[in-house]
């Protein structure tokens, strides 16, 4: 009853009820959330390694990381995703469906992870790590030399100085910039539509085309917005945690 009313109100044609629209969007949102989380888990630490390489005294390594960052930031993410997806086939001649992997999840359940999902996640991780690396580098270089010198005179090792004195301060300083990237990532996950990964935007786009209705777009916009507000809220909590000092 409510569904029927909702569907009429929303102008959806009879073949798609509101509840089915929402459940399809919901399953898309789960995939969106997975890409989002996996990307952060991979790119945040990878960025540290790239930043350290970029600042390394080993010149070829620093140069290579510079090139990497430049390329990742200088070419479209959409292009990177597509290239990554097709590389195994075009370069190595591997049939793409062979790259679907089965993983044993909790409780012995077998889950199939399609190559398109893996490719999207790797693509996002490689791309976002480049941005994070530059943010980290800026943060690390903003720590006054005097702190390094004080630590040196007090006898801290290089590793101790970095882990105990530099990194915690860097963390506070880069939070706003990292937050920006994280918010961008929420929406960038929609780029997965180029590989037809069944995340929320891909699904919504298909429904819009089939139903000749703008409503799913409006709903999707609200969901993305809600997602980013959640992220903003969480980032605010983390920032508050570091509010106890300023420099």
């Amino acid at each position: 009853m409510i569904n029927q009313f909702g569907a009429d109100f929303l102008g959806l044609n009879g073949t798609l009820t509101l509840s089915s629209l929402l459940s399809q969007m919901g399953s898309g949102l789960v995939v969106t959330g997975q890409v989002f989380l996996i990307t952060l888990l991979g790119s945040l630490p990878l960025g540290v390694l790239i930043a350290l390489g970029r600042m390394s005294k080993i010149k070829p390594l620093a140069w290579l990381m510079r090139l990497y960052i430049s390329f990742m930031r200088g070419t479209p993410l959409m292009l990177q995703l597509m290239a990554l997806y097709y590389i195994p086939y075009y370069v190595f001649g591997i049939k793409l469906n062979l790259l679907n992997i089965d993983v044993q999840a909790f409780g012995g359940l077998m889950v199939n992870i399609p190559w398109v999902m893996t490719a999207c996640c790797i693509g996002f991780i490689l791309n976002y790590a480049a941005y994070f690396a530059e943010i980290y580098r800026g943060g690390i270089q903003s720590i006054p030399r005097g702190h390094y010198e004080a630590a040196e005179v007090l006898g801290y090792s290089k590793a101790q100085t970095f882990m105990k004195i530099v990194l915690p301060q860097v963390f506070k300083r880069i939070l706003p910039a990292v937050g920006n990237e994280v918010i961008t990532l929420v929406k960038d996950t929609s780029l997965c539509f180029v590989l037809a990964l069944a995340e929320m935007f891909t699904i919504v786009k298909q429904i819009v085309a089939a139903q000749v209705s703008m409503v799913p777009f409006i709903l999707a916009a609200l969901v993305y917005w809600g997602f980013t507000m959640l992220v903003e809220f969480l980032l605010g909590r983390v920032e508050k945690h570091f509010d106890y000092y300023h420099d």
């Binding site: 006054p144 005097g146 702190h147 010198e149 004080a150 630590a151 040196e152 005179v153 007090l154 006898g155 801290y156 101790q160 105990k164 004195i165 915690p168 301060q169 506070k172 106890y244 000092y245 300023h246 420099d247």
Partner: protein, 255 residues
């Protein structure tokens, strides 16, 4: 022999930045319990001298040792530094107090004090805390244990920095203009603390622009200008009755 009492021995120190020679053949010794003040005009090389002594800069030439730990030797061809382990050992002999404090802003006062003893010297935490609490009282910082540096005045921060250096029981404490970032009122508190340390015969090398303080607290004064020691001697003599015309000009322009 008196040499047993020599804690710092620097001979024929030379240091250049590019083409500018900043230290030209500087020699000095610091004896146990001595307070040495270094004065002189801006750009004279005082900070560079202190930074070389505290291993933040490397000497081009000259020899440096702390008690029996030899940091550099020089057979005439330039300074040859000892291995890393020896340098680490040398660092346990001295502390340094910076002009701009350089406290760790994310640590509380207590954590600033105990972190190096606990994570560098591997002292038990309780022992370090007990010692820190003593120093906090001694520095007039009661009740500030859990504050972070940004909640303290400059003078209080500098006293925390002094306490942080003292936590590691250095034989000699170097100060680079410890009060020049402070207004006169806050300066007093810091100078009082340093005066107190002098009365306990803490060995100190202090770069300062506070002439009255240098005269009253230091045993010896070195006047540096243009990378050389122009004049040195007992504090009262150098400051009240300077022999060299450059020293006289400096002392008159300064006050």
């Amino acid at each position: 022999m008196a040499s047993e009492n020599i804690l710092v021995n620097l001979e024929h120190a030379r240091k250049s930045f590019g083409d500018t020679e900043v230290l030209k053949d500087i020699s000095l010794t610091v004896e146990k319990g001595e307070v040495l003040a270094i004065i002189g005009p801006s750009g004279g090389g005082k900070s560079t001298l202190l930074r070389c002594c505290t291993l933040l800069e490397t000497l081009d030439g000259g020899s440096l040792s702390f008690a029996d730990v030899v940091v550099t030797t020089d057979d005439g061809s330039g300074a040859i530094y000892a291995d890393k382990k020896t340098l680490a050992k040398a660092r346990t002999h001295f502390g340094l107090v910076f002009q701009n404090f350089n406290l760790f802003p994310h640590y509380t006062v207590m954590k600033n004090l105990i972190d190096a003893p606990v994570s560098v010297q591997k002292k038990p935490k309780a022992e370090a805390e007990a010692k820190a609490r003593e120093l906090i009282v001694k520095m007039g910082l009661e009740g500030k244990d859990d504050m972070v540096p940004c909640e303290l005045s400059g003078g209080q921060q500098q006293r925390v920095a002094i306490a942080r250096a003292l936590m590691l029981d250095p034989d000699v404490l170097f100060f680079d203009e410890p009060t020049s970032a402070l207004d006169p009122e806050l300066t007093k508190g810091v100078l009082k603390v340093i005066r107190g340390l002098a009365e306990e015969h803490m060995t100190m090398v202090i770069v300062t622009h506070e002439m009255a303080f240098a005269r009253d607290v230091a045993d010896h004064v070195i006047f540096m200008d243009g990378g050389v020691i122009v004049e040195q001697g007992p504090a009262k003599q150098v400051i009240e009755n300077p022999q060299h015309s450059r020293t006289r000009a400096f002392l008159h322009s300064d006050s």
